[in-house]
């Protein structure tokens, strides 16, 4: 067997959940490990095999137990791999780091993780690449990075090794010193952080830490570390300590005497120039944290690097300078520096040589500028720095040549500038700024008028919303905008959804702003006054959509809308066409008008329109609806009408409407609603396994009488006569998911549909359940599976059912998983067979399987188990399949029948210190599954006994 690993690995990485639904993580992991150990596989393939472990270590090794074993396996692969396969060895180290960190072995200081740490340190110290062996150097670099990652994930892991790491960094003169710098500074930072958490720690502790004589308080510290891990203190250590003036950084009180630390920091700063910009930024970030934690070291230690950083063209280096300012404010940056830095940011935000994302990032930095003396303390809100004058900000005025993200960001910034101005002085300056912004908005509008792309259209509406959200009170401009939008709408009616969206959002978020209503009124005017003859059908349906929205506003008089409707329905060309959508559009407006408070005054013209539709429209459905509306209008009082209609008027939210009269009326929406199958987004109920007693003789071959002769022959004979294939039966309880949705408390006519995810089983029939109530006991259903191959599988389930309000629903049901042990059946022989006869059969099968027959295989599984534990294990998992007597001492025979006709035989015996599971099977493909199964049950058995 040579499965196509390239394909399988890429399928796994594309969708791990999909891939694992066909197998299980344990089985996949053991396959990967087996292939990695296989000498025949090429190293190219092996690198590929490691990628699931590197990327999804947490998924494949979820438990500490699995992580530990996988790590031991991988380390033995590492030990056996020739040094010339450097790439593969590097990938192995990365995979090992992932496995140990994600399975929490590293934070628990497990044996494998300590071994791995020793291995890494050994590689890191092995400077045996004097003759420029690039491969060895690559391995050392990776080892350093793995160490750094282990320390980052489990802070304090390496704090005892600080002196060693400092020495390694100083020795190294090739490019690798960068890796040691990153490692040393992180370990130092974490160690100092730990000291800050210890009461009474001071200069002496710090000195000891740097000098490597930590033995005095090592034990004490370790105990504390463990305590802090137990209560999940890890995340606080891992968080960045660059906080603004409002944040509190833990500090270590050393007094002014900490020259050892100071000299370490200066030597790191001196070498900072030699690092790549990305590593420099990371180094400075760690140094900022260190200096912030140790008040004995003045921030001015960083000053020598400042000029170099302020002039840089690298975004991450300038950013780290801003973080420095954020942490140390005026103890490192004078007022002049502050003004300079802000000007620099403005320059960078519009520099012709920088990329658009960098510029946007700088603009964001302006709005969150770390001021020396901040006025507000809102941390996440955008606020203008005091020093950003309109004069300075004018460099960032938007232009029509900007891309949309830049344009909106600039518009937002300018709006903030002029909003502030507005508060201060009502001068000419303010008027000009606002005029410019508005002029810009108009320019955008002209582009939209000229047929701009979708991107420009969306940008314009976003800009308009932004403008309104800041300046909707400035009557002069908001009124003008409203007029221009009306004109734009008439030119491009397809913009109706965008305009209605703008209306909705301004109504919703700008409370007390009447602008949106004004715009709707304007649109109503524009639509109703335009000549009707030139309208195309798409225009008309957009108009009707807008008028329907207008009709929802109680404050707007609907007379002109009615006039328009009346003109539309009497226009002969349209009436004759009998377009259903158009008729529906008209009815939509009418229905909202039925709810309008001024209905009394609209009664006669509305009735005319409805009557006209009912009598003359070319579509029967529309006629019927119009007749119904007409009847309601003319016979039911307004109060009753609104009570009937109100429910359906509250649209949106995807909530179910009652299938009442209003549903039938709401331009057929409601009718469609009751007739269609609704889709529930989440599961409403689930199938949970109800442990049945194994069905001793389910299906199976018919039970022939024992005719004497060879047991095996007699046994085989049964199969020859067999009619139906053997089946396994699983029982499930159908229960509501918690918490049950009130609407779904009572369900009827449930039909469950099962779909297989692989070819290993025969198709399943649908299952019906009459009802499911929350208050009643859960119904139990039996699922009968006919295996083609006895492998684990996952079955997708969906359900169709009726809720108590009469609607029909389609809902997903959580997948059901058929595990390997579900497929176990006891030996299908007549009950009359004696134990001896069964044992005879076992013996004969065993001998056959140990022979040369195709597909057969034998295997051995060992584990450490006490005698009592073994008994318990047998009792719990193998009792129905046990052939020998349970009290027998020397060994146990277990026979598992796996339909349709596979067998798995186990001889379990206790040796001195281990339990041996001797296995034989006539289907070798079952071995990985049984292995995983045994591993799981023995692992679980392990704990209580030892």
């Amino acid at each position: 067997m040579a499965p196509n690993w390239t394909e399988r690995i890429s399928a796994f990485c594309r969708s791990p959940s999909g891939f694992l639904s066909g197998t299980n993580p344990e089985a996949f992991l053991s396959e990967l490990l087996r292939e990695l150990r296989d000498d025949r596989a090429s190293y190219g393939v092996k690198v590929l095999l490691l990628s699931p472990l590197c990327e999804y270590a947490g998924l494949l090794c979820a438990t500490g137990c699995a992580g530990e074993e996988t790590a031991l396996d991988l380390m033995s692969v590492f030990a056996q791999c020739p040094t010339r396969w450097a790439q593969f060895r590097c990938h192995l180290l990365v995979a090992l780091t992932g496995v140990l960190v994600c399975s929490s072995c590293a934070s628990g200081r497990s044996r494998a993780s300590l071994d791995f740490l020793d291995l890494l340190l050994q590689i890191a110290q092995d400077a045996g690449d004097l003759h420029g062996d690039g491969a060895q150097r690559c391995l050392r670099a990776t080892a350093c990075d793995c160490l750094r990652e282990m320390e980052a994930s489990c802070p304090g892991l390496l704090s005892q090794r600080l002196e060693l790491l400092a020495g390694l960094r100083q020795q190294e003169s090739c490019r690798l010193h960068q890796a040691y710098v990153g490692l040393q500074v992180l370990v130092l930072r974490n160690a100092v952080y730990q000291l800050t958490q210890e009461a009474g720690a001071g200069a002496a502790h710090l000195k000891a830490l740097l000098g490597g004589n930590t033995s005095a308080w090592e034990a004490e510290q370790e105990a504390e570390q463990e305590a802090s891990q137990a209560d999940g203190g890890d995340s606080a250590v891992q968080s960045s300590l660059v906080l603004g003036p409002m944040g509190r950084v833990p500090s270590l009180h050393t007094g002014p005497d900490c020259k050892e630390l100071r000299s370490v920091l200066s030597s790191l700063l001196e070498e900072s120039y030699l690092l790549t910009p990305l590593c420099q930024a990371a180094l400075f970030h760690r140094l900022i944290e260190l200096v912030a934690m140790v008040p004995g070291i003045p921030p001015s230690i960083l000053r020598a690097q400042l000029l170099r950083l302020l002039g840089t063209n690298e975004v991450c280096l300038l950013h780290v300078t801003l973080l420095m300012k954020c942490a140390f404010t005026d103890s490192l940056f004078s007022a002049e520096d502050e003004a300079f830095l802000l000007k620099r940011l403005v320059v960078l935000s519009q520099h012709p040589l920088l990329s658009a994302p960098d510029k946007l990032f700088y603009m964001d930095c302006i709005l969150h500028f770390p001021e020396n003396r901040p006025i507000g303390c809102g941390d996440s809100d955008e606020a203008l720095p005091v020093l950003l004058t309109p004069q300075l900000a004018s460099a960032l005025l938007p232009t029509v040549f900007n891309d949309s993200a830049t344009l909106l960001a600039r518009l937002n910034l300018q709006a903030l500038v002029y909003l502030e101005e507005e508060g201060e002085e009502e001068g000419e300056e303010e008027g000009r700024g606002l005029a410019y912004i508005y002029e810009h908005l108009t320019a955008l509008l002209h582009i939209v008028e000229g047929g701009g792309s979708r991107d420009i259209v969306v940008t314009f509406f976003r800009a308009a919303y932004l403008f309104l959200s800041y300046f909707h009170r400035v009557e002069q401009y908001s009124a003008l905008l409203s007029q221009q939008l009306c004109r734009l709408y008439l030119l491009h009616t397809q913009l109706a959804p965008n305009i209605l969206n703008l209306v909705q959002q301004t109504l919703h978020s700008l409370a007390g702003c009447s602008w949106a209503v004004g715009l709707l009124r304007g649109l109503q005017g524009a639509i109703t006054e335009a000549p009707l003859d030139q309208l195309t059908l798409p225009d008309l349906s957009c108009h009707l959509r807008v008028l329907a929205r207008v009709a929802e506003e109680a404050k707007i008089s609907q007379r002109s809308s009615l006039g328009f409707l009346s003109a539309v329905v009497t226009r002969s060309s349209l009436r004759a066409s009998g377009d259903w959508r158009l008729g529906n559009g008209v009815l939509g407006v009418c229905r909202r008008l039925l709810l309008h408070p001024s209905l009394d005054s609209l009664l006669i013209p509305l009735a005319d329109i409805l009557l006209h539709l009912a009598c003359n429209y070319g579509d029967t459905d529309i006629q019927d609806h119009a007749r119904l509306y007409y009847a309601l209008l003319t016979t039911v009082s307004w109060e009753k009408l609104s009570a009937v209609l109100a429910q359906s008027a509250a649209e949106g939210g995807g909530q179910v409407k009652r299938p009442t009269l209003s549903g039938v009326m709401a331009e057929s929406e409601g009718l469609v609603h009751t007739l269609s199958v609704h889709r529930a987004e989440t599961a409403v109920f689930q199938l949970s396994e109800a442990r049945p007693q194994p069905q001793p003789q389910t299906g199976g071959p018919p039970l022939a009488q024992d005719e004497g002769g060879g047991a095996l022959e007699a046994y085989r004979a049964q199969f020859r006569e067999a009619g139906s294939a053997p089946q396994i039966t699983l029982q499930y309880r159908l229960t509501h998911t918690e918490p049950p949705h009130p609407r779904f408390e009572q369900l009827f006519s449930i039909r469950l549909h099962f779909s297989l995810t692989d070819q290993n089983y025969e198709q399943l029939q649908d299952v019906s359940v009459p009802c499911l109530f929350t208050q009643r006991p859960a119904p139990v259903l039996r699922l009968t599976l006919t295996p083609r191959q006895p492998y684990p599988t996952t079955i997708h389930v969906s359900a169709v059912f009726t809720s108590s309000d009469g609607l029909t629903w389609h809902a997903p049901v959580p997948d059901i998983h058929v595990s390997f042990q579900h497929t176990f059946l006891p030996l299908p022989v007549p009950p009359a067979w004696s134990r001896a006869r069964r044992e005879e059969l076992f013996q004969e099968l065993w001998e056959e399987m140990c022979g040369e027959a195709s597909g057969c295989a034998v295997s051995l599984f060992c584990c450490q188990l006490g005698g009592a534990a073994l008994k318990a294990l047998l009792q719990e998992h193998f009792l129905p399949f046990l052939l020998s007597h349970p009290s027998q001492e020397d060994g146990f025979w277990v026979l598992l029948f796996l339909p349709p006709r596979s067998h798995l035989l186990l001889k379990i015996s206790c040796e001195e210190d281990a339990v041996q599971f001797n296995m034989a099977t006539d289907n070798w493909q079952l071995l990985p599954h049984i292995n995983a199964y045994l591993l799981r049950i023995t692992c679980a058995q392990d704990l209580p006994v030892t």
């Binding site: 969708s15 690198v47 990327e55 270590a57 947490g58 790439q87 990365v94 992932g98 960190v101 994600c102 400077a127 690559c138 990075d145 793995c146 750094r148 990652e149 003169s173 090739c174 490019r175 010193h177 990153g182 960045s240 660059v242 120039y273 030699l274 990305l278 590593c279 990371a282 000029l307 002039g311 840089t312 991450c316 950013h319 012709p352 990329s355 658009a356 994302p357 960098d358 990032f361 964001d364 941390d379 996440s380 005025l397 960001a409 937002n412 000009r432 410019y436 002029e439 582009i447 792309s453 979708r454 259209v457 969306v458 509406f461 976003r462 308009a464 932004l466 965008n498 969206n501 959002q505």
Partner: protein, 490 residues
């Protein structure tokens, strides 16, 4: 300061986008989980990530004019970091995305400060690091020139796994991806105290050479209107290629200005520059420049990397644009009368490598009869019949002024290209191509003798300078010109 995941998406014409490469970093994800606590949001699988990102970038459902999830006016994508709204499972933030056809590069940086309430981007170092990394990756995959080499792209994509092992093995960013150089000679360990910079991939052996090129680019917006001020600006870059022996050789390049030159502003330098004088950084284009500003010489001491690099960039405020133009259109019955004049400023060297003006016409039929005369140079009509190309050649005439007059009939059978900006008489000349060798507008130059190299061998030193143009627009003064720059308010 690490990435949780990285994606490379192939999206050629906005159709059939697919993920070509993705990488998750399990240990960083593990940290993300413990840092975020209950507000942790897992990274979705590739296919759903792709859908969400495309919607967020406005690239999904291109055939629909309005999709609520994509086009809501309330929502303002805070590029460069976008958020992906997962279906009922929280919001994935901050996803950094960089697009350059045909690729979209995206990554998810780790948030190492409390994520509730959402912190500003400016507080996350991993964001700027992510941007640097993505930009480097983009240059590595697509090259800086911008012309796509699809075979090269495929082969470079194939090297990504081994490249990532070097620059970002576990999610922590160490360097930007660069073309892997075959093991370059490195320092013998006995080199002593001098450490090799991590950004220097090897050592140069052989003849020493220093090449310094100053390239200035001029941009302009000319309206020819009494109410609207014309605008222009100049920015320059100094590119170096240094082949000098030694682990950390010292080189100093000095930029000088002529006697009355206006100071260089907004100077940005490469990280290999070792030290800077504060006076070099003070002049800024957003300030009101005062006459007392420092005007050089500008000294840049540095230790060069092996590959060519941009030592520094600057902007300058020059008093006049190199070419002053006027453009007038008049709509007549069935044709368009046009008159153009271009005047070269006398301070600019009248010796071009090339100079050409483009006059595009939008939202009209194709050109029929072109009855246009030029006083100098040569006039071409593009194949598509919607663009006049006026090739001015190497020299302006003695008068330093050239003109074009005549009329065009748009009687072609088919419609020319459309542009929502240039409707009616809104039109421009786009003087795209202009190159003047051996000159700069600001006067900035590098004297060959001012380049100092502290090394045993005497290097060969080459310096050069040239002037280019970009975004050089001359708007029709008889039609409305759109708001195109804010500077005019000042």
């Amino acid at each position: 300061m690490s990435l949780r995941a990285l994606w490379i998406i192939y999206n050629e014409k906005g159709e059939n986008a697919s993920i070509r490469f993705s990488r998750r970093f399990s240990t960083v994800e593990h940290r993300a989980k413990s840092l975020a606590g209950s507000s942790y949001v897992a990274v979705p699988e590739d296919s759903s990530f792709l859908q969400l990102l495309l919607t967020e970038l406005g690239l999904s459902g291109s055939h629909k004019s309005y999709v609520a999830a994509r086009d809501d006016c309330l929502y303002r994508p805070r590029s460069p970091a976008v958020e992906l709204r997962l279906d009922g499972k929280g919001t994935l933030w901050p996803v950094l995305a960089l697009s350059q056809a045909p690729l979209i590069l995206a990554c998810l940086p780790l948030v190492d400060i409390p994520s509730e309430p959402r912190p500003p981007l400016a507080n996350l170092l991993s964001v700027s690091q992510g941007l640097t990394f993505l930009a480097g990756l983009q240059t590595f995959l697509l090259g800086s020139a911008g012309n796509l080499d699809s075979e090269g792209l495929v082969s470079r994509m194939a090297t990504l796994p081994s490249l990532l092992l070097q620059v970002c093995p576990l999610g922590t960013l160490l360097d930007t991806p660069q073309a892997v150089t075959p093991t370059a000679p490195t320092v013998p360990t006995s080199a002593g105290a001098q450490k090799q910079p991590a950004w220097k991939t090897g050592l140069h052996r052989g003849r020493a050479m220093v090449n310094v090129a100053v390239v200035e680019t001029v941009r302009s917006m000319q309206y020819g209107s009494p109410t609207r001020q014309d605008l222009w600006d100049v920015y320059g870059t100094v590119t170096c290629k240094c082949e000098v022996e030694g682990v950390l050789p010292n080189v100093t390049v000095t930029l000088s200005l002529p006697h009355n030159g206006s100071p260089l502003q907004d100077i940005l330098v490469h990280p290999c520059v070792t030290s800077l004088d504060s006076s070099i950084l003070t002049a800024s284009s957003v300030d009101n420049a005062d006459g007392s500003a420092f005007s050089g010489p500008y000294k840049f001491p540095f230790s060069p990397p092996l590959e060519p690099f941009r030592l520094c960039s600057y902007t300058s405020q020059v008093p006049v644009p190199p070419i002053l133009g006027s453009y007038q259109l008049k709509e007549e019955e069935n044709n368009l009368r046009l008159s153009v004049s271009l005047k070269l400023h006398e301070s600019v060297k009248n010796s071009f490598e090339y100079c050409a003006a483009h006059l595009p016409f939008f939202n009209r039929n194709q050109m029929g009869v072109v009855d246009v005369k030029v006083s100098s140079g040569q006039l071409d009509v593009s194949k598509e019949k919607n663009l006049l190309v006026w090739v001015l050649g190497q020299k302006f005439p003695k008068s330093h002024e050239v003109t074009m007059d005549g009329k065009i009939t748009f009687s072609g059978s088919s419609q020319g290209p459309s542009d929502p900006l240039c409707t009616g008489l809104t039109a421009y000349i786009k003087q795209l191509y202009l190159k003047v060798p051996d000159t700069t507008l600001s006067g900035c130059f590098v004297d060959q003798h001012s380049v100092q190299v502290y090394s045993s061998a005497k290097p060969r030193i080459i310096t050069s300078r040239e002037l280019l143009s970009k975004e050089y627009y001359i708007w029709n003064s008889t039609g409305p010109a759109p708001v195109s720059s804010g500077q005019m308010m000042i």
